[in-house]
Symmetry: D2
């Protein structure tokens, strides 16, 4: 991939070697939480090794500067070669996006206190935005944010409910979104940095989900009179949704990167299987029915690489890349689903067992087609954009004609 630096390429190579040599063996490690995700003990053990190997938080340089998105891509794809890789290397969601956001918006003091420990991989974080639809809260519609914050002396007091808060259970810090009364009316919101756990945040439920890669799962929780020192507001008041936009596209794209890595590995496993096993008198891959699936995967992997690289290059221009990351998310997540499905099918009975990671990757990618906006929501917003641009071009034509 062009458009990247030697630093990033070197780091990507180190990350890949680390994941293949050190992390992959951990895939058989049995330390899993109730939900099926790796325990924090396991995560921290792997991180110690990543730190020693110089691949911890590989997308942020020692001087605190963040790699460009195109550089990030080459590194994060490699970290994703194992579902455990992003946890080991500290490139996992939601931490990666949280670090990105605090790095862009936080004051030096807040960075020192909240960002630095995250970069050092000392613990996990959560992003408290989504609210339960059946509570009438903010699903995808910002103006519906129902979690409130009100000033009380030199503190803010937050009350509300949140859902699908990935990693909230077991996190050491969080970014909490809430809206004051006046902000609610004009569609604004605030962001706060908070230490976790906090007794004011009660986890109501962590449902089992089809995906099992994320420690802490996806919690539904209640916030009751959470008191936050005023100095822990992230950025300026009322700017919460703007900040969420800054985080949105890079975070969405980083999912694409990590899961592409996982699917590249799944393809390697399926290829190896298809090249070793025999059935009906010949090597599996020599059956066109099998070989074509692997060939289709090779095509789809290339498509994903190109989409990620393109969207990253748009973000690197400073654009929010909202439409571009919608395009990339739909294209990549649907392609990854097909890749993972093909890999299972190539491997037959073995494919649906946990003897390899292919089965897990299939489940993770299924969830990914929902997380960060289901395909349908992205198509909906793209259709609106197409209509908007059509109108603009018509008006431009009319203006030109009447000039």
């Amino acid at each position: 991939m062009t458009g990247t630096s030697q630093y990033a390429l070197d780091m990507a190579a180190k990350v890949e070697a680390f994941v293949r040599d050190i992390v992959v063996p951990y895939e058989k490690d049995l330390r899993r939480d109730h939900h099926g995700a790796p325990t924090d003990e396991l995560v921290m053990e792997m991180r110690d090794k990543a730190r020693a190997a110089g691949v911890l938080t590989p997308h942020i340089k020692a001087d605190g500067s963040h790699l460009t998105q195109r550089e990030t891509a080459v590194v994060l794809i490699r970290s994703g070669l194992s579902p455990l890789g992003p946890l080991a290397c500290n490139t996992m969601a939601p931490d990666e996006g949280n670090m990105y956001l605090i790095g862009h918006v936080g004051s030096p003091e807040l960075k020192e206190r909240f960002l630095q420990p995250l970069i050092e991989g000392k613990g996990r974080s959560a992003f408290f935005m989504t609210e339960p639809a059946n509570w009438g809260g903010a699903g995808s519609d910002p103006s519906m944010m129902k979690t409130t914050c009100r000033k009380d002396g030199d503190h803010w007091v937050v009350n509300g409910r949140k859902t699908f808060i990935t990693g909230a259970k077991g996190a050491m810090m969080g970014i909490v979104m809430a809206a004051s009364e006046e902000e609610q009316s004009r569609g604004g919101a605030c962001m706060f940095l908070v230490d976790l756990p906090d007794p004011a945040i009660v986890i109501d439920e962590v449902p089992n989900t089809i995906d099992t890669s994320m420690p802490g799962g996806h919690a539904t929780l209640t916030i009751r009179d959470l008191r936050i020192p005023a100095g822990q507001m992230l950025g300026a008041p009322g700017e919460g949704f703007r900040y969420a936009q800054i985080r949105l596209s890079p975070a969405r794209l980083s999912h694409c990167m990590r899961w592409l890595g996982a699917c590249i590995r799944a393809q390697e496993i399926a290829t190896d299987y298809g090249c070793r096993r025999e059935a009906f008198g010949k090597t599996l891959i020599d059956h066109e029915g099998v070989g074509f699936m692997l060939a289709e995967n090779a095509i789809l992997i290339k498509q994903c690489e190109l989409m990620i690289d393109w969207c990253a290059s748009v973000l690197d221009t400073g654009s929010l890349g909202t439409a571009e990351s919608s395009i990339a998310k739909v294209s990549v997540s649907e392609a990854l689903m097909k890749i993972a499905d093909n890999c299972i099918q190539v491997m037959g009975g073995t494919g649906v067992t946990d003897r390899t990671i292919v089965e897990q990757v299939f489940r993770e990618v299924r969830a990914f087609r929902i997380y960060d906006g289901p395909t349908e929501v992205h198509k909906w917003s793209l259709a609106r954009k197409i209509k908007r641009e059509w109108k603009q071009s018509r008006e431009a034509l009319k203006a030109a004609a009447s000039a």
Copy 2:
């Protein structure tokens, strides 16, 4: 559906009422084995209720006669409305197929001893056919059966390995396939009925799999000097593969029936979700993006019903229905995958949690696309049939021309 009897329709209605009223609440029961499947304790508790409700083993009448396949369809689809339903009603694989086979081939004595307890739902059974490919055994190719049997006085002694033996762990009886030395050379085999557990059968591994509905999972195991009284041979020696063929199509089709039931329920759940929830200013189902998925599902469900009914009617003529059940299996399993996938997508974040059975149904159907022959193997055999028929029709034309 036409072509069925009032008896079957009445039984189907009773089964449906039982599953909806009694079984569905058990879906939240936490008694699951290590692999994620319901424990036998849970199964037996449900079966007691099924017995009381008159819906235990509903496809076999009190006089021991089996419903026709078209009648079986209307009953088994209803038993599948919950993933627990077939276990509760004793219509689950592999028991259903094993009962069918013993019923068709067994002597009165063997039926009395082995079939009757199965019909009464006293325990589970397993079918020991598939062998590990990496052991060089019989995957899909009968002539490769490597598990041996040899006569030793009035016993047979069996040695070998088997894999993907569903429900072997915890079963009370099994049907074991093996081939004597001479049978191996001419592609024959024997079947034996055995009490389980037997110390001569050692379970090496029960891998975790993407599906979790079957107690005992899918075991890989070793058979060492398993001694079986000669009277426990099922049917005649050398006829094992012919018997396997008798079992094949009905068993394959019964999977289609049960999982169609599960997908009908998933569609109900997704419809209910889509008709209650709002997003972007209207009820979910009023978004065409959602409504079209539910409409597509309605079409696919009808397709599955028709395929099952047609294939059942072919089997009811006495045909082995090999090609027909291949057609039905591919058509139904691929359609069910799409239905389950659509249901998840309609339900968004909720769809990938275990708050409903939709998530499980998706995983089960993914496995079903592999079990009982992956789509590709069925297409391969259909292509061979197309070629064979083309040749025959050409030769018929030539014969007619030269006559």
Copy 3:
């Protein structure tokens, strides 16, 4: 296929023999109109032979009675084995639907005068319903019918515009829909039988279309002061839309029948090609990439047969079958598209030439996915039905609970 009569099976066999022996050679006949469709001279020549062979209008018996829909299916599928077959046998749209409608609604006098010549295959007919969307007329919304009729003595005078009027050019009679002023307000309409051509009906345009099987193409036209004797009103005033509903499902389903026949033939041609040609060292069909396409087609053809038979059986109960024919139309038309596409792909370069009918069938089926309601409109109405039924079941539950 069950559910049909010996009469229908015999007639189907005769039709098949006629189409294969007599009609197929006409596929190379060069008599085509400007639009690419067979000329009426060619049609009449084939019809003479059909009459002689006893297969003209085979779905209507000598006593004027119409076969059941399930019987019609077995006959019309065979007539479709050549794109010319329905023209030769007089089972083509829109004549087939027009005969059906007049047969159900017409008075003895109107049947004598207008239906009898159609049954005898003396000429073609047209159905004047659809109006240009850009004229604000009735696209799919009946209440928008803008073509007017007003009583003037013992005549009706019709004015308006129509579009996509298949076969209007060259037709000998037509069924014209129009609404009086008061009917327009309450969503009613009238139908009239008219002799054609009539100078009051001016054809504005017959666009070239991707399909080329229908003589006269699909005309856009203007009706100016068309005077029709009052006795030529079909049925009762104000009942036009109800009559259109009677015609709707059978006509829609008869498209499915004819094009299934064409796709069965395409599959035969592709199979023959795949079984004769060699590439890369083996017979084409022995390449799984080719064999799987033909196997998929075999599965899809069975799906279409079952859908048609099921929908026909619903219509035979007297139901309007609106939802059922939507389900069948979507399922069949999308499956036929895949079948035709696979056939072309199997045949490579030859597939895209007119050396066989496969190329034409592909084009016809593409158009069929639009004609008689695009897939999306059917899904839309099915989604509405799903919602309606959900509401009804909820209300039923509530009523039961409060009873």
Copy 4:
């Protein structure tokens, strides 16, 4: 798109303006040959205007140098915005590939005599490679080339048959492949430049095909004692297949470029239709069923752009790009099919008429999925490459282990 020059961008803009302003109106021009393709008279009239506008042969500079492939992409995509554009601008197949090949391999004398008139757009050319499969000739297997050449004094004499020779009818020159007796045995061949027409080349048939954009169609022809002066051999003897490889990937990719341009235009037309028309109470694009299709197209168009740009960049490194152009060809041609199909569907009845170019683009792209290697052949060769690379990596691992 990055990686291109200001020259290319400027030229692309000029080409786009020319196609939109001057060429598009010719789409209604009725001058078509028997097969449906534009007549040479029409082509030459458009070329005169292209010459005047400075956009004739825009991918070759005045000094004879060829744009890079990435530069070529931005220009050729624009020339494809009308199906007539490549003919008008002289970027059409097979001329574009023939110019490329002669430019790379031809001697100064041959360039002067044969290339220069092509660059000046004075006439069309053909590439005589493919042989009829039923003649036992070279389909895709070079070693099967059956057309012979033998030296006779200072001439070569060629005999044989060719098929699917695009544009042979009406061409002013051609590149003819043939093999001497000894070359046939070792898989070599020669290429010759010949003036056309020549009485020794007899066109046997030009079948009607689903595509209609290429003047002269795709001819099957016989070569009988065609005498060619020895100096008209292109390059060295025995190198014919190597030269064909040089031409292969760029020619394949240029198809992708042109047809992407056509699909971008189809999307514009469908968008315009969807934004103007109303149905069921709202603008068409506001129906998600329609909006999602246009959104999917936007995603697919981006995918195609990225694939073309990537493959072009590989070719620009000097690589033959065989695997890469297979990947690009499959990915792009399948995506374009979906785009064109969606556009028709959005436009309903209008979509299947020739009122817009959408209907033609659909037919052209269908053929494109076959031309230059059907999808299945590319997947087959990719599967072989995957297996080869798997073997190499295993051997590398073994070598490393034993070192």
